[in-house]
């Protein structure tokens, strides 16, 4: 069982992430009702919320340091929160504001916080190769930092994932791949696209350990991740984990989920990993009042981040032209050295 300090931190990450997603949902729908228009309202673009995924982010990231790298997919907020991404600037980014993490250029699927080595990408499984690359850099530099790639169960049929498993395995890279299995790849139930109930078995073909955590219990995730991250940190190579989570909301806001049986939705809502975590805290002697206080503080932090984000200015339209380059090609700035290219005598 994790020490109480870890349990408390995981609980805080989880209630922060849950409240964050529920509040973003409210903010997002403003201006999009009664007729839903994805391009209206204060939060631009698509929004993929991770309510129901909290146990995975919290349980894994509890073992990580700022110098460890995390890549996340298009449903990234709970992982970002657990990794310690700046909540205010992340929120400002999601609202498309100038002081956002990426100055409003990236948005919710493309968040970058180099201070804690966090990045996410909107293309399925495409965070796996860069995570392997971060592991490669750690290995070459004899550092004990590790890299973790989060992906959904829909991503395990993607070449970028399978190639990364092999690459990490053959080079013994300090990488952990974490599949978050929420049963649904947009409208596709897992069994219709993958002939494999336990995604962690993808590890078998690469002679890599594979661990499945088949309940969304942050403590069980924590214990599995202790083994996987520890193995990476001790330079014993990569591990594949799969964590059963649940999708409490649609694939994206605006997804009516017409394909999803109501019973499945109801079952997801009943599987509450946060209540389970609170029970762990109680078992460790925390009283309800203390737990309520932790939750209240987390909610206040979320509210403060959203309020701050909404006060931030929108970017200047002209800023769209900046940041393509670190070293902007501004014409001829360097002189070219002169050589005698006439060749030799012979």
């Amino acid at each position: 069982m994790p020490p109480i300090t870890d349990l408390r931190e995981m609980y805080i990450d989880m209630v922060t992430a849950r409240h964050y997603e529920e509040r973003l949902q409210e903010e997002y729908l403003e201006g999009k009702q009664p007729a839903f228009d994805i391009s209206a309202g204060p939060i631009p673009g698509e929004l993929h919320l991770a309510a129901g995924h909290e146990a995975s982010g919290a349980g894994v990231c509890q073992h990580l340091r700022d110098d460890d790298t995390v890549t996340a997919p298009h449903r990234p907020h709970h992982v970002a929160i657990a990794k310690g991404v700046d909540l205010k600037r992340m929120t400002a980014e999601i609202f498309g504001r100038e002081s956002g993490l990426c100055k409003g250029k990236g948005g919710h699927m493309h968040l970058f916080d180099p201070d804690v080595n966090f990045a996410c990408s909107g293309i399925i499984a495409e965070g796996c190769p860069p995570a392997a690359g971060a592991g490669l850099a750690a290995k070459k530099r004899n550092s004990d930092s590790v890299a973790v790639a989060f992906l959904g169960e829909g991503a395990i049929d993607q070449g970028a994932f399978l190639e990364s498993l092999n690459f990490a395995a053959v080079h013994d890279l300090p990488v952990v791949f974490v599949i978050e299995d929420n049963d649904w790849a947009i409208s596709m139930p897992k069994e219709r696209v993958t002939d494999l109930e336990n995604g962690a078995r993808r590890a078998d073909g690469f002679e890599m350990p594979g661990i499945r955590v088949d309940q969304d219990d942050a403590v069980a995730v924590y214990e599995a991740a202790a083994e996987a991250v520890g193995r990476a940190r001790d330079r014993n190579g990569p591990t594949l984990m799969e964590v059963q989570v649940h999708r409490r909301m649609g694939h994206f806001m605006g997804d009516a989920e017409g394909y999803r049986p109501e019973t499945d939705q109801e079952a997801a809502l009943e599987r509450d990993s946060i209540e389970r975590m609170a029970a762990h805290l109680r078992a460790h002697g925390l009283d309800d009042e203390t737990i309520d206080d932790l939750r209240e503080e987390a909610h206040e932090r979320v509210e403060a981040a959203i309020a701050w984000a909404k006060e931030q200015p929108e970017p200047d339209p002209g800023a769209a032209h900046e940041d393509v380059w670190v070293n902007p090609p501004s014409g001829v700035t360097d002189s070219e050295p002169a050589f005698d290219l006439a060749g030799g005598d012979d």
Partner: protein, 340 residues
């Protein structure tokens, strides 16, 4: 022209028209089938297959794993085996995952085989921005596909075009890339402008590839464009008309083959060329159109303007996205610059 012209009174959204053509072809030919992510029960994220699974079942409207290399490559293989697959990339931006199958196999196998192999497939993909989906989900990439030899590339701008181009795409013996703009489809959660919902004949019909359509006739300037920007150009033309400038709007409809004749004919009449594109500026559609006109009718050109995305990835925040995607005002301003 002796044929009787029939009045058509039924209006369809672009997605309904596209689906109608696919359904007609599937009824007529057992060898036509559709593969893609979320195309069966969901009906396509952008309604590209809405209702087809109900009629044709899971075997012919196939949901696939998120494995673009595998299923796009499988479409190539099935096409070479003589079937007529339609394979959908949910967002054209995802082409990067599977480009080898697209440009090294689908596009080249006919040529590399000396013509002994054909690849009669359609690659459909949703394109375009204007709803703040940022750099990985907003591109059109028109120029990328048109640049690489071996693919026919078509871009419907209305329901009428969507149906006729789809019929032709499925019947064509070569690979056809069919790029439909999300903003034009008439999806509930992404409202379309008025233009793309048009009368659509119930009978099947084909629109030949390489035939541009003059959407508005005018004397003073030629605006050449495609996709969403056909509608923005038409709006701009209405505003310009109020200022006494008479703009002709040419909808390319197909990039490969390209109907240079219609463009040149128009420019020879107006003397001024404005090309409007939702793809990147450099090495793209605008440059190609201007170069093609210059090749054929340099003397006819009095003024040239290009409007396209500047060479930056598409930003997320609304003010920045609006700044980089050409708008109606950008078009009127460009046209006015040609009238000096």
């Amino acid at each position: 022209m002796s044929e009787q012209v029939q009045a058509v009174e039924r209006d369809l959204t672009m997605s309904r028209a596209m689906v109608e053509a696919i359904a007609d072809e599937m009824r007529a030919d057992e060898e036509v089938f559709y593969m893609g992510e979320d195309v069966a029960d969901y009906g396509g994220i952008f309604d590209s297959t809405e209702g087809l699974r109900e009629e044709f079942g899971y075997d012919r409207i196939m949901d696939v794993p998120i494995s673009e290399t595998a299923y796009l490559g499988a479409a190539v293989g099935a096409a070479q085996a003589g079937m007529r697959p339609i394979a959908e990339l949910m967002f054209v931006d995802f082409f990067g995952v599977a480009m080898d199958q697209i440009y090294n196999q689908m596009a080249k196998n006919t040529y590399m085989s000396g013509g002994s192999v054909s690849v009669p497939m359609v690659l459909t993909a949703a394109v375009g921005g204007t709803y703040n989906d940022a750099a990985q989900h907003s591109q059109t990439l028109y120029g990328t596909f048109a640049h690489l030899p071996g693919m026919k590339v078509v871009v419907p701008s209305t329901a009428y075009e969507a149906k006729g181009l789809m019929h032709n795409a499925i019947r064509d013996d070569d690979p056809v890339v069919y790029l439909f703009h999300k903003r034009l489809m008439g999806i509930g959660w992404l409202p379309a402008p008025d233009g793309p919902k048009t009368p659509v004949p119930e009978t099947d019909y084909t629109i030949p590839f390489g035939r541009a359509d003059v959407k508005r006739e005018g004397e003073d300037v030629t605006i050449v464009t495609l996709g969403l920007h056909v509608h923005r150009a038409l709006d701009a033309a209405e505003q310009l008309a109020a200022d006494g400038i008479d703009a002709e709007v040419v909808d390319l409809r197909s990039l490969v083959p390209l109907d240079t004749d219609t463009v040149v004919e128009s420019v020879e009449k107006t003397g001024n060329l404005v090309v409007v594109d939702e793809d990147y500026r450099s090495y793209g559609v605008t440059g190609e159109i201007v170069a093609s006109v210059a090749d054929e009718a340099l003397g006819a050109l009095d003024a040239v303007e290009r409007l396209a995305l500047p060479d930056v990835p598409i930003p997320y925040a609304r003010p920045m996205e609006q700044a980089v995607v050409p708008g109606v005002e950008d078009i009127t301003a460009a046209v006015e610059r040609t009238q000096g």
